[in-house]
Symmetry: C3
Subunit: 231 residues, 3 copies
């Protein structure tokens, strides 16, 4: 599953503008297959599984297009980690989120990397120590998802965000996404040094100049979606 | 008081599974005794007081068992810092939280370490600059506490979380808690490197394998609570 | 505008106790003038604009007095960044906040430094990728502002916070503000080392001792607002 996700996320990437991760049925994802994690599979196999999992989670943020989680059911353990790793997450009002590994003696330490960077520490710890699920509303309140909508509007509302992204320039979005994650790891002054340079670079992109020109001329911009610069 | 807290928190630690910090009366804790902080006590004494205080606050997060704050009244200054330093905090709907040091000319700079890492920066600054208390609901909204319950349910609800933790493996919880705080200080890729290793280590624990086996066999796990590994 | 802001923010700074940034009309600030950012102005000019902008935003946090944003209308792009950069932000219930640069092909990368440090990552990304505004209530829920009040109470409520700050000691507030931002960049133990020293320093200030004395004697303190120390 992780291998499939990894190859599907990069397949035809050049033709994509936005990726929506969703699921069929009542569960978004329940994380790892516990049978794969018994001692008979061996230590080296386990290491491979968790390394691959971490690669996939990191890849989501490193892709040049926005990745949206569309969550209608239960997202637990690495499934909750996947939601936390996406750029945007839209949840049905019936969705729930949990890190229940502690119940089976396997603390959700890898999910905690993503969840701990999404919600306040106390909320993360209560989820991790008790395994209890939080509701979609609590997930919104604490920042794990960015929007909660009625179950029946989930697909439409997610698609509406995706369509909005498709109206923008691919290269501008790619530059913006990469810069966002890069600057968040820096101290404020360094973050401003990096982003000031990026703003100037963005302005020298064909699409940067076309967008501003169109705005001044009160017309729709015509994007090239490319990285050509103008002088 | 800080000295007592420090020795009590480590006394009989081997027999404990979870610690609840609570108070009798209408005040959870009002922080330092201001009479100890007058100039006649002297600079060296003051330094000792704040070093001890910081040690106690840090110790809460370094203990191998979860520490829950059960807050029914007012928590101010170092008392608010103590709530912010706990792993989990359950508050009565009548609880209030403040960092009012600025009113007596002593800015809550040490409390700000814990409070500033719990709530959004603007909320922290408004609390620190004005000294005004926030309500339990605001504390929940901003991440200072993880749950707010009616006053009369406070003990039961806190105990219910504690009991839930007692159903899990002590060694798994200890590993999970230590790893959580360690990885939160790391950059994402390093955090995944550390936690991937910890997941494999967790799986090699007797309790890691017992938990998964019990899950597959649809029975309750029998924890050893120890650090024995299996092969 | 940025130049004016920069010089006004430091003019007569010694006589100020608190700064309120507000606007006339329905827009708090819409950020950069796009005409200044066309290719005919040139790369070097653009670099100057963004460097100046970053300096002004950083300066807000480096000033020795609290800076409050009073927001009644729309705050977009660098205007939203300015709100995010203030110490405290009070918003009218009709205020809205957006980072819509992506629509004109210029991703809000510099605003993202301040906004990404104020709201959860998913909320920031949805704002940045779609350009859609969030409401005052959402801004409060996610930590971009610290208070939302009815439009007609905006000036009074902001002034009430400002007045509260004027009742405290200038030198204590200056020490507290500088220390807050310094310790937030440090790892927890280092943060406690720094702030413990600052608490002792604060206690040796005349105003530190006067505040505590007044509290014990149940009277109003008489602040010197200076940096004189006592022994």
């Amino acid at each position: 599953m992780l291998g499939t996700l990894q190859s599907k996320l990069t397949e035809d990437l050049d033709k994509l503008r936005v990726i929506i991760l969703t699921a069929n049925g009542p569960v978004f994802s329940a994380g790892h297959d516990l049978k794969e994690l018994t001692s008979k599979e061996g230590r080296e196999y386990h290491m491979k599984v968790f390394q691959l999992c971490s690669e996939v989670m990191s890849m989501v943020q490193d892709l040049p297009v926005p990745v949206i989680a569309e969550v209608s059911g239960l997202a637990t353990a690495a499934g909750c980690q996947l939601v936390a790793s996406c750029d945007i997450a839209v949840a049905s009002d019936k969705a729930r989120f949990a890190t229940p590994g502690v119940s089976v003696g396997l603390f959700c330490s890898t999910p905690a990397v993503a969840v701990g960077r999404s919600v306040p520490r106390k909320v993360a710890m209560e989820m991790l120590f008790t395994g209890h699920p939080i509701s979609a509303q609590e997930a919104l309140q604490h920042g794990l998802v960015s929007k909660v909508v009625p179950e029946e509007e989930l697909k439409d509302q997610t698609m509406s965000i995706a369509r909005r992204i498709c109206e923008t320039s691919r290269s501008v979005v790619a530059l913006g996404k990469a810069t966002f994650y890069a600057q968040m790891n820096l101290e404020r002054q360094e973050a401003y040094r990096l982003t000031s340079k990026v703003m100037v670079e963005n302005l020298s992109l064909g699409d940067g100049q076309e967008g501003i020109k169109a705005f001044i001329e009160k017309r729709k911009p015509t994007w090239s979606h490319g990285n050509k610069t103008v002088h």
